[in-house]
C-alpha cells in the first residue's frame, strides 16, 4: 500500500488565524500549492516542508507524518 504524508497545516494555520494565501506568501509559493498540500494531493519537497513548519512556528515532524 502506498505511503501518504499526513499533515495538520489547516489546524495550525487556523490557530494562527492565517488564510491559505497568507501562508503561501510567507513561504513564497501560490495559494494553490498550500491548498494541494493541505488536501494531501501534493507532497512537498523537504525544503518547502521546512518553510511551512517555520512559517507556522512548529517543528516539521509535528506538521507532517507518515500515514500507513
Amino acid at each position: 500500500m502506498p505511503e501518504r504524508l499526513g499533515n495538520r497545516i489547516k489546524e495550525k494555520r487556523g490557530e494562527l488565524g492565517l488564510t491559505q494565501a497568507e501562508l503561501a506568501e510567507r513561504c513564497g509559493v501560490t495559494r494553490k500549492t498550500v491548498n494541494t498540500i493541505e488536501n494531501g494531493v501534493f507532497t512537498p519537497s523537504a525544503l518547502l516542508a521546512i518553510k511551512l513548519a517555520r512559517s507556522l512556528s512548529v517543528p516539521v515532524e509535528e506538521l507532517f507524518w507518515l500515514e500507513d
Binding site: A21, A24, E25, G28, V29, T30, R31, K32, T33, N35, T36, I37, E38, N39, V41, F42, P44, S45, L48
Partner: protein, 148 residues
C-alpha cells in the same frame, strides 16, 4: 483600478491558465481534425495554414517547457512556476512523451498494412503528444485550484 500584489497577480494568472489549457487543447485538436477530414491530403493544405499550426505548436511547446507568461515581471513568473506547478508541468510532459511514443508505435504498425507519409506521421505524433500534455496539465492545475 487597485494595484494587485505579486501573489494576487500570480493567483489570477494561474487560475486563468488552468481554465485556458483545455480550451487550447480543443482548439489545437479541432484544427487537426479539420485537416484530416476535409482535406485528406496534408500536401493540399495551404502553406499559411500549416505555418499557423506550426507557430501554435511552438508556442504551446514553449509554454509547456518554460514558465510561460513571458511578458510578466520575473517575480510573478517565478511565483506562478512554484513547486506544485513544476510538478504538474513535469507530469504533463511525461504524459505528452508517452502518448507521442504510443502514437509513433501505432503509426509504425499501420505502415505494415498501408502507406503513411512522413509529413502526416510527424503531424499526428506532434498533435497527439502536445494535446495530451495540455489536457493533463489543465486537469492537474484545475484540480489544484479546487478548494477542499
Amino acid at each position: 483600478m487597485t494595484e494587485r500584489t505579486v501573489a494576487e497577480k500570480a493567483e489570477y494568472l494561474s487560475k486563468r491558465r488552468a481554465r485556458m489549457l483545455p480550451v487550447l487543447a480543443v482548439i489545437f485538436l479541432s484544427q487537426q481534425v479539420t485537416y484530416f477530414t476535409t482535406v485528406r491530403d496534408l500536401e493540399a493544405v495551404p502553406t499559411v495554414k500549416i505555418s499557423a499550426w506550426l507557430v501554435l505548436s511552438i508556442v504551446l511547446l514553449a509554454a509547456l517547457a518554460t514558465k510561460g507568461f513571458w511578458l510578466q515581471p520575473k517575480e510573478v513568473r517565478d511565483l506562478i512556476d512554484d513547486e506544485n506547478t513544476r510538478a504538474n508541468r513535469g507530469d504533463a510532459m511525461r504524459w505528452g512523451f508517452l502518448i507521442s511514443m504510443a502514437t509513433a508505435i501505432a503509426i509504425e504498425t499501420l505502415t505494415m498494412f498501408d502507406t503513411v507519409k512522413a509529413r502526416e506521421s510527424i503531424h499526428i505524433i506532434m498533435t497527439a503528444g502536445l494535446a495530451a500534455a495540455l489536457i493533463r496539465w489543465g486537469y492537474l492545475e484545475r484540480r489544484a485550484h479546487r478548494d477542499a
